[in-house]
């Protein structure tokens, strides 16, 4: 803190009772310096360092993005970086200083993911609708090329005259021909031979391999008509060394937007479904990606194959999530109360042991449990039950029980931890007062401890419900949804929950349907969100207790 002359003057003015004038520029600067210094120089340095790191990363990102011509993203990154600097270098904007990091993280990890998933849900993105129309046409045309049966391999040289490429072809009988795009093969004069193969023609420049590589696009497009008869096809060279005679079974008419199969005469038209379709409804794949509006949502809700399984899978999903939350919570709570008793010895050791299931990755433990529950070889049947053959994972009812048991084992330590913390925050004097009033232990628990506990724990129970509702890992690792319901038209099993069923529907075999899967994900998100919102509103009432 420095006493400047300005301040002395100010004080003198105030003492003499004249109103202060507007501060001069120097005064403002001085005030600014004082203001900064009051936070301590260390804080300022940390701030500058942190912003420096952020800016450095943003600059690096911008550099990469501009090189890759990703203009939109570059714009967003630049805007965010500028905004962050503006917020933290300004002396006001206090709320923004607190909110900015959180909002950025929220935007990247929640809003963006959700928005992108919804976007995909409105497209037909999936197997066969993977890229742009242009790419689909290219792929169809190159797949439609058939090599003329028993045609020989023609050694070729790629030659250039005035920027136009031609192929110099050596026929099987040693004859040399030349031709180019739209210029059928004709005998060439003045061929330069090397080892019985023509390597060039007078008046043309032969391309070296490097030149061929650098003009790849022209060469892959180059089709030299074999003769005046189009049915004889054209010569193409895939590697610039040899050419082969091809005919094409498809013809693309860009103006009309149609594909014609030259063998059958069937015309395939772009009817707006993202693939060329014949009148009989046959599609040529690959197609391309288009937006399809609410089609995926309609399909998700009205697919007749799903209507049967969907009902019991949904029921089981709710049952699984609710029972998992309830069982883990009550077991965790029971143990927490037991170990909260001062008269018990070695509580720390017990607590440590109880946390262990929580410390093992759930992927691993689910797989270990699956091994232990094997009917003929598993540890539980062989060792614990002395050779019994309990169908832990292969009977529909037992498999559900097993899933719940394993999830209980995985989930109770978390609840135990949470409840231990919450119990210790309940003041002892309340309990003492209740005892003095003659309350029994059960009454104390039910009327005093549990309500107070729920104030803290209720939001966590809701989160746990949402987590278990989409607990893909345990189902996938333990039973993979099995045992399979062989009566269902889709490969769904008796322990499948919604998310694993969606996974199977969308990703079975070779037909991926990202659009449908995204639509389902959004629907599941809406269900979980609605339940969570209602539950949170209800738990607000609990807070009145305090």
């Amino acid at each position: 803190m420095t006493t400047t002359t300005d301040e002395g003057v100010e004080r003198a003015e105030r003492a003499s009772g004249t109103p202060p004038e507007k501060p001069t520029k120097r005064q403002r600067q001085a005030a600014g310096i004082a203001d900064q210094a009051s936070g301590g120089i260390g804080v300022l340095l940390v701030k500058i360092l942190a912003l420096g790191i952020v800016d450095a990363i943003a600059l690096y990102a911008l550099f990469i993005l501009v090189v890759n011509a990703e203009w939109l993203i570059a714009g967003i990154v630049a805007a965010v970086a500028i905004f962050v600097n503006w917020v933290y270098f300004s002396r006001k904007r206090l709320p923004a200083k607190y909110l900015t990091p959180g909002v950025i993280f929220l935007a990247v990890f929640q809003i963006f993911v959700l928005a992108y998933t919804s976007y995909v849900g409105f497209t037909n993105y999936g197997t066969g609708h993977n890229g742009s129309k242009e790419q689909a046409v290219g792929a169809l045309m190159s797949a439609a090329l058939d090599r003329v049966p028993d045609s020989p391999t023609y050694p070729v040289a790629v030659v250039d005259r005035l920027g136009e490429l031609s192929l110099v072809v050596t026929g099987p009988n040693g004859g040399v021909f030349i031709g180019g795009e739209e210029r059928p093969l004709e005998p060439a004069s003045g061929a330069q031979m090397e080892g019985g193969v023509a390597v060039g023609v007078d008046g043309y420049t032969t391309l070296s391999f490097q030149e061929i590589v650098s003009r790849t696009d022209e060469i892959t497009e180059l089709a030299v008509p074999f003769s005046d008869d189009p049915n004889e096809g054209a010569l193409r060279t895939p590697d610039g060394r040899s050419a082969y005679q091809y005919t094409s079974s498809l013809e693309y008419d860009e103006a009309a937007g149609t594909m014609t199969n030259l063998d059958t005469g069937v015309v395939y038209t772009d009817i707006g479904t993202g693939a060329f379709t014949s009148e009989a409804g046959e599609e040529l794949l690959p197609g391309w990606q288009i937006t399809v509006g609410f089609d995926n949502y309609l399909k998700a809700l009205t697919d007749t194959r799903l209507s049967g399984p969907l009902a019991y899978v949904t029921t089981w999903t709710f049952a699984f999530a609710l029972i998992s939350v309830a069982s883990t919570f009550f077991l965790g709570l029971f143990l927490a109360i037991v170990f909260n008793d001062m008269r018990m010895r070695g509580r720390k050791l017990y607590r440590t042991v109880l946390i262990l299931p929580y410390a093992v990755p759930s992927f691993l433990s689910a797989l270990v449990w699956a091994g232990m529950m094997n009917e003929s070889f598993g540890f539980i049947n062989q060792v614990l039950l002395g050779g019994a053959s309990v169908p832990w994972l292969t009977d529909p009812v037992m498999a559900k029980v097993s899933v719940l048991l394993v999830n209980l084992w995985l989930g109770f330590p978390y609840m135990f931890l949470v409840c231990t913390g919450a119990l210790q925050s309940i003041p002892d004097d309340i309990v003492e007062a209740a005892t003095v009033d003659g309350a029994k232990p059960w009454g104390i628990f039910r009327l005093i401890k549990l309500p107070l506990l729920l104030v803290t724990v209720a939001p966590l129970l809701i989160a746990s419900f949402a987590f278990n509702f989409n607990n893909f890992n345990i189902i996938y690792m333990l039973t993979n949804g099995g045992p399979r319901d062989t009566g269902a038209p889709i490969p769904v099993g008796f322990t499948d929950i919604l998310i694993t069923m969606v996974y199977k529907v969308a990703f079975t075999g070779q037909m991926r349907d990202y659009g449908l899967a995204s639509a389902y994900s959004i629907l599941i998100f809406i269900v979980v969100a609605v339940i969570s919102i209602i539950a949170f509103r209800r738990t607000k009432a609990l807070e009145e207790l305090n």
Partner: protein, 411 residues
């Protein structure tokens, strides 16, 4: 304005400064690519991480000869196919990727692979490899290895090769074993490993014509299929118990390594661990339950050319004229220990008794169908076989399987 996924992801990641993601998204070193293009182009090749070293020599030699740089990118085998399908349309994908022939249906339906003209070199490959590399009458893959299952025999327990399936079981029981033969199944079955027995009864999945497998000709439910189902039931839980869905891959392996099983139906990928465990391994043809040969599936590994490659000429040249050479095929064989697809290389590799054993079985092998309809078969096939093994009515279950598959194919 078309925003591609990678860009969006990159943007998101950048905004919070996830530098790692950034580096990944910047991908493919655009700068080096551009400078290399000036010198004569560069090729990006995705390779299963375990085989990068084997290919490095070939890549360097190619660069030396042509001046074209070859960037080998090691990829995780389990994600390489989906990454390829997703990245090719964005223009960020590789020029060439390593893969398996049964991806072909999916790759071609997505339009991400370009046809490959092998020209005269096609005659130099094993017929099964060329067959597998062909989809819809067009070749799309440069094959480099052929893989199939065979029976591993513990020669210390059963010194001589056996003839039929029943003789195999008898030989094992004579040696005092309860479960002489193991094959991996699991709760959802494993049709890949049971296929040789199914073909022995004359029930392939699809009939085939000159263009390969024909999706409209489902042979699964034919009379041979019914016979196979009846046989499977008799060898299952309520029969001899030679097939058991509780035996998964790990349990089968352990039984063979411990010597409680003398015969193990599995692939070359498990031979190493058996030899390391000190088992005296011999490779036998698969004992057939009928008078016909038991034909396993052949899986062919190879290289695909991206349809969006900007360097098709160089890529084709590198594949056909370079990776198709005997030296490179042998180098890949050394790295992966599976039979090369090039006949000449396969012959020199067959000096190894293990490889020769698998190759002998492979002569009867049939390529695994790559047509998209196969996806519909997989999802019902194993479950049906598992429930037959566990005592469901074989005839009804098999009939329902054929109906389910047919209706799934018809969509």
């Amino acid at each position: 304005m078309k925003v591609n996924k990678k860009g969006l992801l990159a943007g998101g990641a950048i905004a919070i400064g996830a530098t790692l993601v950034l580096a990944g998204c910047a991908g493919n070193d655009t700068e080096t690519e551009e400078s290399a293009a000036a010198e004569g182009g560069s090729l990006t090749v995705w390779v299963d991480s375990e085989r990068v070293d084997a290919l490095q020599g070939a890549a360097d030699a190619y660069t030396e000869e042509t001046g074209i740089t070859v960037d080998l990118v090691g990829k995780d085998n389990s994600t390489i196919k989906d990454d390829f399908i997703q990245q090719v349309p964005t223009g960020e994908g590789p020029d060439i990727t390593m893969g398996a022939h049964d991806w072909l249906g999916e790759l071609s339906t997505n339009g991400v692979v370009a046809p490959l003209e092998l020209g005269d070199s096609a005659d130099g490959y094993l017929p099964v490899a060329i067959n597998a590399a062909t989809y819809d009458g067009t070749v799309y893959m440069l094959p480099y290895a052929v893989e199939n299952i065979a029976v591993l025999r513990n020669a210390d327990i059963v010194p001589e090769a056996v003839g039929s399936f029943d003789e195999m079981i008898a030989a094992g029981e004579e040696a005092g074993l309860d479960q002489p033969f193991v094959v991996e199944q699991g709760a959802e079955g494993n049709p890949y490993h049971l296929y040789p027995f199914q073909t022995a009864f004359g029930a392939p999945v699809f009939g085939s014509d000159e263009n390969g497998y024909n999706a409209d000709d489902l042979q699964l439910g034919n009379e041979g299929g019914q016979e196979f189902a009846a046989w499977l039931a008799s060898e299952g839980k309520n029969g001899t118990g030679n097939f058991n869905t509780d035996i998964d891959g790990d349990i089968a392996k352990q039984s063979f390594l411990d010597g409680t099983a003398a015969f193990w139906l599995t692939g070359p990928w498990n031979v190493g661990s058996a030899i390391d465990a000190g088992v005296n391994v011999a490779i036998d043809p698969i004992p057939s339950p009928t008078s016909d040969a038991a034909q396993p599936f052949a899986g062919v590994k190879g290289f695909f050319l991206s349809s969006e490659s900007e360097n098709k000429v160089a890529a084709t040249d590198f594949l056909v004229n370079y990776l198709g050479s005997e030296d490179v095929q042998l180098a890949l064989f050394e790295a992966g220990n599976i039979l090369p697809a090039l006949t000449a290389a396969a012959e020199s590799a067959s000096s190894d008794a293990i490889i020769e054993g698998f190759a002998t079985v492979g002569q009867d092998a049939v390529p695994m169908p790559a047509i998209p309809a196969m996806g519909s078969v997989w999802q019902y096939w194993g479950i049906a076989e598992a429930s037959i093994i566990n005592g469901e009515d074989p005839s009804a279950t098999w009939t329902k399987l054929a109906e389910d598959v047919q209706s799934a194919i018809d969509g």
